[in-house]
């Protein structure tokens, strides 16, 4: 079974893809912070930032249906958080609108970042920016084993479906789901154990080594400068 959850279009060759990971992390995080600092009523600011993010999405060559789809996929969680709006009085709906605008723009930024940077480069970039080794290593394992566990979950689901005839009651379904999740957790422990043995077998002594990644170029400086100028202009207009 094949999955490509996070960095499906990271292999493309757009100008954004050619930037160094650190540049993109800094630039895109600056955009996220800019989005989060826009206050209620700053619809104009949102539109300028949305325009900038749309240009970046266009430059990235990532198919638009994919970008929109990924953003909408996470939107239900935002809407769930927005359920509190009616209880916030007259300001509730403007708060809800602010929440949706911020979330959509931040999600767009993250979708573009993760699809213009291979996950491994993203991890290297985080490490070079001072993110703790252990955090980066855990993210790396998460990325790698997400697929293994997804495969196992899918196989378990198929095995369950093969033995299920007709509709079971909701409690029976929940009980089965609980057993499956428990089994999946035990298997992930077993994988972790074996993986650690495999790491030790290849000389691992607690220190994660990396090989030098690609270096910054003039493109990175131009990108950071343009993003900084646009954000500053947007926020101080």
């Amino acid at each position: 079974m094949k999955h490509s959850f996070i960095d499906r279009y990271a292999h493309l060759d757009s100008p954004l893809h050619m930037l160094e990971a650190r540049t993109k992390i800094i630039g895109f995080m600056a955009l996220v912070i800019a989005v989060l600092t826009v206050r209620a009523g700053g619809v104009g600011h949102f539109f300028i930032l949305f325009f900038l993010i749309s240009i970046l999405a266009g430059i990235s060559q990532i198919p638009m249906p994919y970008v929109v789809g990924r953003t909408l996929l996470l939107l239900p969680f935002v809407l769930l958080a927005g359920l509190a709006a009616p209880w916030k009085g007259s300001a509730g709906w403007s708060w809800f609108l602010l929440l949706v605008m911020r979330s959509v723009l931040c999600l767009l930024v993250l979708v573009i970042l993760t699809n213009t940077t291979r996950f491994v480069e993203l991890l290297r970039g985080l490490r070079k920016l001072g993110c703790p080794k252990l955090v980066v290593a855990n993210l790396s394992f998460l990325y790698r084993y997400l697929f293994v566990l997804a495969d196992e979950a899918m196989r378990m689901k198929q095995a369950r479906d093969c033995r299920r005839v007709g509709r079971a009651g909701i409690f029976a379904e929940l009980r089965t789901l609980g057993s499956m999740l428990g089994t999946l957790m035990v298997r992930s422990f077993e994988h972790a154990d074996q993986m650690y043995r495999a790491m030790l077998s290849r000389g691992f002594s607690g220190e994660f080594m990396v090989i030098a990644p690609r270096k910054c170029s003039w493109r990175d400086l131009v990108f950071i400068a343009v993003v900084a100028v646009i954000i500053a202009a947007t926020l101080y207009l």
């Binding site: 996950f119 293994v148 074996q194 077998s201 000389g203 090989i211």
Partner: protein, 250 residues
Amino acid sequence: MPGSLVEYAVRITRLSYSYPDGNQALESIDLDIRAGERVALVGPSGAGKSTLLLQLNGILRGSGLVRVMGQSVGDGDLKLIRRQVGLVFQDPNDQLFCPTVFEDVAFGPLNLDVPRQEIQKRVEQALIDVKLDYSYASRSAHHLSHGERKRVALATVLAMEPAILALDEPTSNLDPSNRRHLIELVACLPATLILATHDLEMVLALCSRTVVMNHGKIQAEGETRALLENAGLMEKHGLEVPLSLRNRSA
């Protein structure tokens, strides 16, 4: 190859091991393997084959003495010992934990302080050795087929240039074509070979000596063909005479 002047690649004396739950996995194992020799460990599931392989580089440690290329695993430099023993796990998903094939293959050499400029060469050579194109280096393990993962798993230890290759069920879950390629590949490798497997046809093709294990003990050892032809012995220990030998005698 480091330590290639040593007569015995592996010397195991009275090795016993119990898992934390009390299950005795190995009991009083005595086994010598000469440098350059190819030895198969066969036996039913749970016989202790994989546990024995994990003793060779100190991942598990029991009572008794294990010497690898002349060095005691208990007191020796574990880094050096793990450089000497290339252990390939049964499930390649356990072995391939890095985001890309390149990083997985480079993981061992990096930990062994191989100079950075040499690591690139080692990765390229290891991928050539397992008959994979260098374009695989940038791919993720989860985008590879099971057969390709098995080959990459082998490359991850070949890049460490080990004196001893310990392979745990190398042909499990492989289709016939991938299985044949893997056997041909292993046949060309110059290292001392220790195979833990149920694939007795592969044992016939690769190993001059076979050790039969069951219930954590060595039940028999000797010349491969003579041992595998012994129907009574095979049946007693949950094995079968390989088809090629049965056809020959029929």
